[in-house]
């Protein structure tokens, strides 16, 4: 029978032990600067999206200046191919992109999380069945399917959100299922079952609290992918009707802003998408690393252990005098 010593090798894996109590998500933001950077990036753009339209200096649909006017006092970010103020477009466009991103991620979380939890916890035929379905969805190239569906059913906000959400849930489902399956085998869950606790109680008391942080991490990563896909759809002309960062890029491309040297027409939306995606990625990655610090202490790296330079006091009372000199 296994009587392996507890995994703590003296002095090397100490950091694997969670230091303080408190909710894991809160602890992540206290301990990891990258998570805070990610959060601040995303929050900045969320605020812009909420208050943007009210503060926008000009209309984000009607032209208010010359075509491709460079950034100036009146137009801080210049104007695009049809003379619309880029800053106003950015402010309003952000709202659409973020709405699509967050809503699609929510759909993916609910569908993916639900299927992952169901498959992971019930195991057996349900698990195999659900996972087969997920495998098929995973194989279908999401961008192409999105294009086909958007073309066939016509672009609308809800369509785009649904399409992106329904194609991003597979990764969430697989990650959640793996975590739920491993928790279900944990001793304390088997003990709860042997106590006679009902499945409902076990899921809500033991499994969900443990899987919630990982679900949050995966959902935050899905927001990044969703915003990415929205901009791709917009670029193909089947995106969301109205203004979004994606449509701004497509608009700038149609008007060949690049060859006109009008960088201000496409750099702000491109960078904005990039920064939000980076923000989501940093947050999601930080939470996931905090959850399972699976990166063991590397046995091999460029740095090696060191010899102590300062002579340490001898700890040994030696009867034979000659050994003293040798040290």
């Amino acid at each position: 029978m296994k009587t392996v010593e507890p995994a703590v090798v003296e002095g090397t894996a100490l950091e694997a032990r969670p230091s303080r109590g408190g909710h894991p998500i809160v602890r992540v933001f206290r301990e990891r600067p990258s998570a805070v950077l990610g959060l601040s990036l995303v929050l900045f753009f969320v605020l812009v999206a909420i208050f943007g339209p009210a503060l926008a200096p000009y209309s984000w649909t009607q032209p208010s200046g010359a075509v491709f006017a460079p950034p100036s006092a009146q137009h801080l970010l210049g104007t695009d191919g049809s003379g619309v103020d880029v800053l106003s477009e950015m402010m309003y466009g952000g709202r659409t992109s973020l709405i699509v991103g967050f809503a699609a991620a929510l759909v993916a979380m609910i569908v993916g999380g639900g299927i992952g939890l169901l498959a992971g916890y019930s195991g057996g035929a349900t698990d195999v069945g659900l996972m087969r379905v997920t495998d098929y969805f995973l194989v279908i190239p999401d961008l192409v399917l999105m294009i086909v569906i958007a073309t066939v059913f016509g672009p609308s906000l809800s369509h785009v959100i649904l399409v992106i959400g329904l194609l991003l849930w597979t990764t969430t489902a697989r990650i959640v299922r793996a975590q739920v399956k491993s928790i279900r085998e944990r001793v304390y869950v088997r003990r709860a079952r042997s106590l006679g606790a009902s499945h409902r109680r076990i899921v809500f008391q033991h499994i969900l609290p443990q899987v919630a942080p990982l679900l949050i991490a995966t959902t935050v990563l899905t927001i990044a992918y969703a915003i990415f896909d929205e901009s791709a759809l917009a670029f193909l002309g089947v995106g969301v009707p109205g203004v979004s960062w994606g449509t701004m890029l497509e608009h700038a491309f149609e008007r060949t802003a690049m060859t006109e040297g009008a960088w201000w027409a496409f750099v702000p939306p491109g960078l904005a998408i990039g920064l939000v995606v980076i923000g989501c990625y940093l947050m999601g990655q930080a939470i996931e690393d905090a959850l399972n610090p699976r990166l063991r202490v590397a046995h091999l790296s460029i740095r090696t252990w060191r010899i102590r330079k300062a002579p340490a006091a001898t700890t040994h009372l030696d009867p034979e005098p000659d050994r003293e000199e040798a040290v």
């Binding site: 029978m1 296994k2 009587t3 392996v4 010593e5 507890p6 703590v8 090798v9 003296e10 002095g11 090397t12 100490l14 950091e15 230091s19 202490v297 590397a298 046995h299 790296s301 740095r303 090696t304 252990w305 060191r306 010899i307 102590r308 340490a312 001898t314 700890t315 040994h316 009372l317 009867p319 050994r323 040290v327």
Partner: protein, 327 residues
């Protein structure tokens, strides 16, 4: 002059959240040709760290002090690169979790041949034949050389690990809890193999374990470790019948025996934290013979009899009374 001698071995670990863990606080021991030395102690006492330090296998966060002599030549202070020449040719090692001591995607035979070819002790067909002989020596059919580690049972994998350790004909074999994860019958087979190797090949073995009876039956001498230091060391027979450190006696009393009605008593309390400075004797809070001097003055390891050392003030005050109870 002994085959392998360790003087004032100390190891510090830099902890990720600051602070330093003084995992090994001064170890002194030696082993001769064909001798079996036990390093015994509970988890967290520094026995595995001391063994890894001997081979220079510590992570980058470690700082080491002290000297390690093989046949009189110092090997530790040269650091990782200098030690490489001595590894496997002079000192070899068998790890506790034999399961992943082998590279899963390479055959066992190729992993035994690898050190031979690198150190130049044998190459090509000669090496292959020697690997086959070693497998037979440890009781595994030579044909198994072509098979992968996951096809071996627990006991067979540990035997293969011993065969791999003997690849370059080392003088000293370090074994870190080699039988902890094995059943009592398979453990007996492995221990019998180790004893026969010391007898037939003159191999010196240092056996790290928390299992006192194993040390009692297999080792000639033993070092009892507590809180990173040597509590007591000497011939195993005197350690049982005439212990000169209360911890040694209490450890024997806490170990149940097959026959015998002596009451099994646990030792209250827990070992001290090694990331805090030490005041007085580390065992004082749990010792049943502690007196005022123990709280203040840290006992030094002193010779109490021929090749028998102990770190306890009682030896200066009332040596006779320490051992009553076990002998």
């Amino acid at each position: 002059m002994s085959l392998l001698e360790v003087r004032d071995l100390q190891v510090w670990f830099d902890l990720p959240h600051g602070g330093r863990l003084h995992a090994v606080q001064g170890m002194n021991f030696a082993v001769d040709v064909g001798e079996r030395l036990g390093l015994v102690g509970e988890s967290g006492c520094g026995k595995t760290t001391a063994l890894l330090a001997l081979m220079g296998l510590l992570p980058p966060s470690a700082e080491v002090d002290g000297t390690v002599l093989i046949d009189g030549t110092e090997i530790l202070r040269g650091g990782e690169d200098a030690m490489r020449a001595y590894r496997w040719t002079d000192v070899a090692m068998v790890f506790q979790g034999a399961m992943n001591a082998f590279n899963p995607v390479k055959t066992v035979g190729s992993q035994i041949v690898e050190p031979m070819e690198f150190h130049g002790t044998a190459t090509g067909a000669v090496a292959k034949r020697e690997a086959a002989d070693l497998l037979e020596l440890v009781g595994i059919p030579a044909a198994a050389a072509g098979r992968y580690p996951h096809e071996f049972s627990g006991g067979m994998r540990q035997r293969a690990a011993i065969a791999m350790a003997l690849a370059c004909g080392p003088k000293v074999l370090l074994a870190d809890e080699p039988t902890t994860a094995l059943d009592v019958m398979v453990q007996a087979q492995i221990l019998e193999l180790l004893v026969s190797l010391t007898r037939d090949l003159g191999l010196a073995v240092i056996l790290v374990t928390h299992d006192l009876p194993v040390v009692a039956q297999v080792c000639d001498r033993a070092v009892v470790m507590y809180a990173g230091r040597t509590a007591e060391s000497g011939p195993i027979d005197t350690l049982f019948h005439d212990p000169r450190h209360p911890y040694t006696r209490l450890l024997f009393e806490a170990t149940p025996d097959l026959i015998g009605d002596a009451e099994v008593v646990s030792i209250p309390g827990a070992p001290p934290r090694l990331d805090r400075p030490l005041v007085g004797c580390p065992f004082e809070p749990r010792c049943d013979r502690a007196f005022d001097r123990c709280k203040v003055d840290t006992p030094r390891l002193a010779v109490v009899a021929a090749r028998h050392e102990a770190a306890c003030h009682l030896n200066d005050v009332a040596p006779a009374g320490i051992g009553s109870g076990v002998g």
